[in-house]
């Protein structure tokens, strides 16, 4: 289909108009931005229907030759295959809902037009990322979303914390991008191409070491973008951005780009056991790490951010398991996109009502005043903890099942994560919507306007019914052309037992949360005397402290050392030579006495010397 480029072009052009148009577009900027996102969604749906109805495995569109320098050849080609199609629908669909929501949320912001321009820029870059047919073009979108993320985290740049958070996100992402850049270079040197197909074919005949290196480099890139341990530290600070940004970029779409990258590179991971195990380890560690952080945070957005890390950990874990679970990684990615965007927007609605208060200890009993937000948030809540029948139940259950198929340790880790998820989400639910009022004196909560609640309702519906994608294993068959047919591992327990086990663990987690927070009043100030684990979780398990001690401080020491070496070593050598020459000449010029007779004496002595030398030569 030759309209594929429109999916990217529409939001990109809209962003350009809004950014270049300046104040002239202030009045209708938000409408254009929203229309552009919906437009991209419509084209995406048309392409999807085309793909669904046609016999072809993928739609392609060659646009132009991007780079052509002797052996270095990159075609700019768009690829709309089953995997891309799901991403396009998620990005533009959820993106459009969040655009609509933002009209209401950013109503009072004087820079609303700019906000929509950045959102459109993000949508365009993200679509570039998932529609490219080449790692280099993917990198273009990859950096584009990083830029948009930076601009949007620091959108309220007058707050120092927001400016610092934006910078932090950018710097941490650079570490991951280094992996991506090196991976692309490695592809060029070993396979001579960075096209998906070329790399898949090349890696099949490459050495195991190459595949491992490629896999680990791509994993590093994925860790940066998807906030996985050890590059997780930026995501919690990224919550400084406006809430719709947190919902769209830091929950539903951009942070899942790492999972997309790993899934897209399935051929690489198929060749390397080590890289695959590394992905599993990263996923498992992150899912527990994020969940533990989520348990201790009182800031509702940071709690949700911890949860996002944890859920992406699940996706990474599934992607690491390989062909048995690629489809479930993407499935969980989609359902998570629905329910997490839903809950973030719900949190935004609550903040909107509570004068931008984010501390859950100042909420409580909001279910009465904000019924729509409460009900939609509850749908997201039930979906994320995996309440039977809700979308999260189907996707998470499949991942835990696959984890048990991989190994019993991984399975237990994933199971434990599900229990902790239930705990912290129940805690959040109780502290925000149930329990007693702990509002600030001047808080007058009210339900948000329809422009904000309608997207909530749509996302709530998707959170409830998103599991339908698994009907007849539709999503598994749909993704088969990209990630290969599903492989069944032998399970240590029957699948139904695992499902029951997951539900039981979830129930236990929820009950513990209820017993801890639901039966007695929640203190409105965080208690200072807490267990070591809680104290650690409040500090993000010392992730920042570690980075500071391991990288920042030594980095500062190194620069200080280099400055000292420069000042004393390099400058010292140069200045020393100059001083030596200066001092010597200072002494030497004393010979210039100004007395004619002393000059005459030196002339005579010199002449005599020459004569003697001549004599010596002649006589010798």
């Amino acid at each position: 289909m030759n309209l594929l480029y429109l999916i990217i072009a529409i939001p990109a052009i809209s962003a350009a108009i809004l950014l270049l148009g300046g104040k002239a577009t202030d009045a209708w900027g938000h409408l254009l931005g929203t229309a552009a996102s919906i437009g991209a969604f419509v084209v995406g749906v048309i392409a999807f229907v085309d793909l669904l109805a046609g016999d072809e495995e993928a739609l392609r569109q060659e646009l132009f030759t991007w780079i052509d320098v002797r052996s270095f050849h990159v075609e700019f080609e768009l690829l709309f295959d089953p995997l891309s199609s799901l991403f396009v629908l998620l990005i533009t669909g959820v993106g459009s809902l969040i655009h609509i929501y933002s009209i209401g949320y950013m109503d009072h912001d004087p820079r609303r037009r700019r906000f929509f321009a950045y959102l459109n820029l993000f949508i365009a870059a993200m679509l570039m990322l998932v529609l490219s047919n080449d790692y280099l073009a993917l990198f273009l979108g990859w950096e584009g979303v990083g830029l948009a993320s930076y601009l949007l985290i620091g959108f309220w740049q007058h707050k120092t914390s927001a400016a610092v958070a934006a910078k932090k996100a950018f710097v941490v992402n650079r570490v991951g991008d280094l992996g991506m850049a090196l991976a692309i270079m490695l592809m060029f040197t070993t396979f001579g191409t960075s096209e998906f197909e070329g790399v898949s074919e090349g890696v099949a005949s490459a050495t195991n070491a190459t595949a491992t290196a490629l896999g680990l480099l791509l994993l590093l890139a994925a860790c940066g973008k998807s906030a996985q341990v050890p590059l997780q530290s930026w995501l919690l600070d990224a919550m400084e951005g406006p809430t719709p940004v947190s919902a769209l970029i830091h929950a539903a779409t951009m942070v899942t780009a790492g999972v997309y990258l790993v899934t897209r590179s399935s051929a690489v991971y198929a060749e390397s056991e080590i890289a695959q195990t590394a992905v599993i380890v990263v996923g498992l560690v992150t899912l527990l790490w994020g969940a533990i952080i989520g348990c201790a945070r009182d800031d509702i957005k940071k709690g949700l951010a911890g949860s996002t890390m944890s859920q992406i950990g699940y996706m990474m874990l599934a992607a690491g398991i390989g062909p048995a679970a690629y489809a479930f990684a993407i499935f969980h990615l989609l359902t998570h996109g629905f329910f997490k965007a839903n809950m973030f927007l719900g949190a935004g609605s609550v903040m909107h009502a509570m004068n931008d208060e984010v501390d859950m200890r100042r909420y409580g009993a909001l279910r009465g005043v904000m019924p729509i937000t409460f009900l939609t948030f509850a749908c997201g809540y039930l979906a994320i903890i995996g309440f039977p029948g809700f979308s999260g139940f189907w996707s998470k259950d499949k991942i835990i099942e696959a984890a048990f198929g991989e190994s019993i340790v991984v399975g237990i880790g994933a199971l434990l994560g599900a229990g902790i998820t239930a705990f912290y989400m129940t805690r959040m639910m109780i502290m925000t919507f149930i329990s007693e009022k702990r509002w600030a004196k001047d808080a007058h909560p009210h339900e948000s306007s329809l422009v904000m609640t309608v997207p909530l309702m749509v996302l709530a519906a998707l959170s409830v019914f998103g599991g339908a994608l698994l009907l007849n294993s539709w999503i598994v068959h749909w993704l088969e052309p990209v990630v290969g047919p599903e492989v069944h591992h032998e399970l240590p327990l029957p699948a139904i037992v695992i499902t029951l086990l997951v539900s039981a663990v979830v129930l236990v987690g929820a009950v513990i949360a209820f017993l801890t927070y639901g039966r007695k009043p929640v203190p409105s100030v965080a208690p200072a005397r807490v267990s070591l684990l809680t104290a650690a979780a409040r500090k993000d398990l010392y992730g920042d402290a570690f980075n500071e001690a391991a990288f920042m401080r030594p980095g500062q020491q190194l620069t200080r050392g280099l400055v000292a070496f420069d000042n004393h070593g390099v400058d010292g050598a140069v200045n020393g030579v100059a001083a030596l020459v200066g001092g010597t000449s200072g002494h030497a010029r004393r010979w210039q006495t100004g007395f004619v007779r002393s000059y005459a004496l030196s002339m005579l002595a010199g002449s005599a010397l020459i004569v003697l030398a001549l004599l010596a030569v002649t006589l010798a």
Partner: protein, 99 residues
């Protein structure tokens, strides 16, 4: 005939001139000592010309005389000017041009 006595005389005259340049302070005397050295070399030139039987040395001696005459003109003019401004003909007093 042997030129040796002339050369010895030339060396002696040169030595006297050189010592005079080094030890005397009066610019006029220094000047005269320089003349003495120039003429000592002239004597050596002429003596060698005689020994070799050609005119090269004599021509060189003429050149030296011409240069010496020009030098005397310029040199005496400088000494006069210095004496007029500083009331002194000592070469050691004119030592401003130094480090």
């Amino acid at each position: 005939m042997s030129v040796e006595p002339y050369l010895v005389l030339s060396a002696l005259l040169f030595a006297v001139g050189a010592v005079g340049v080094l030890v005397r302070r009066n610019a006029i005397v220094v000047f005269m000592c320089i003349e003495l050295m120039l003429n000592a070399s002239n004597l050596a030139f002429v003596a060698f010309a005689r020994q070799h039987g050609d005119l090269d040395g004599q021509i060189a001696a003429f050149f030296v005389m011409v240069v010496a005459a020009a030098e005397v003109v310029v040199g005496l003019a400088i000494i006069m000017t210095i004496f007029r401004t500083r009331r002194s003909a000592s070469v050691d007093d004119a030592s401003l041009l130094k480090y």
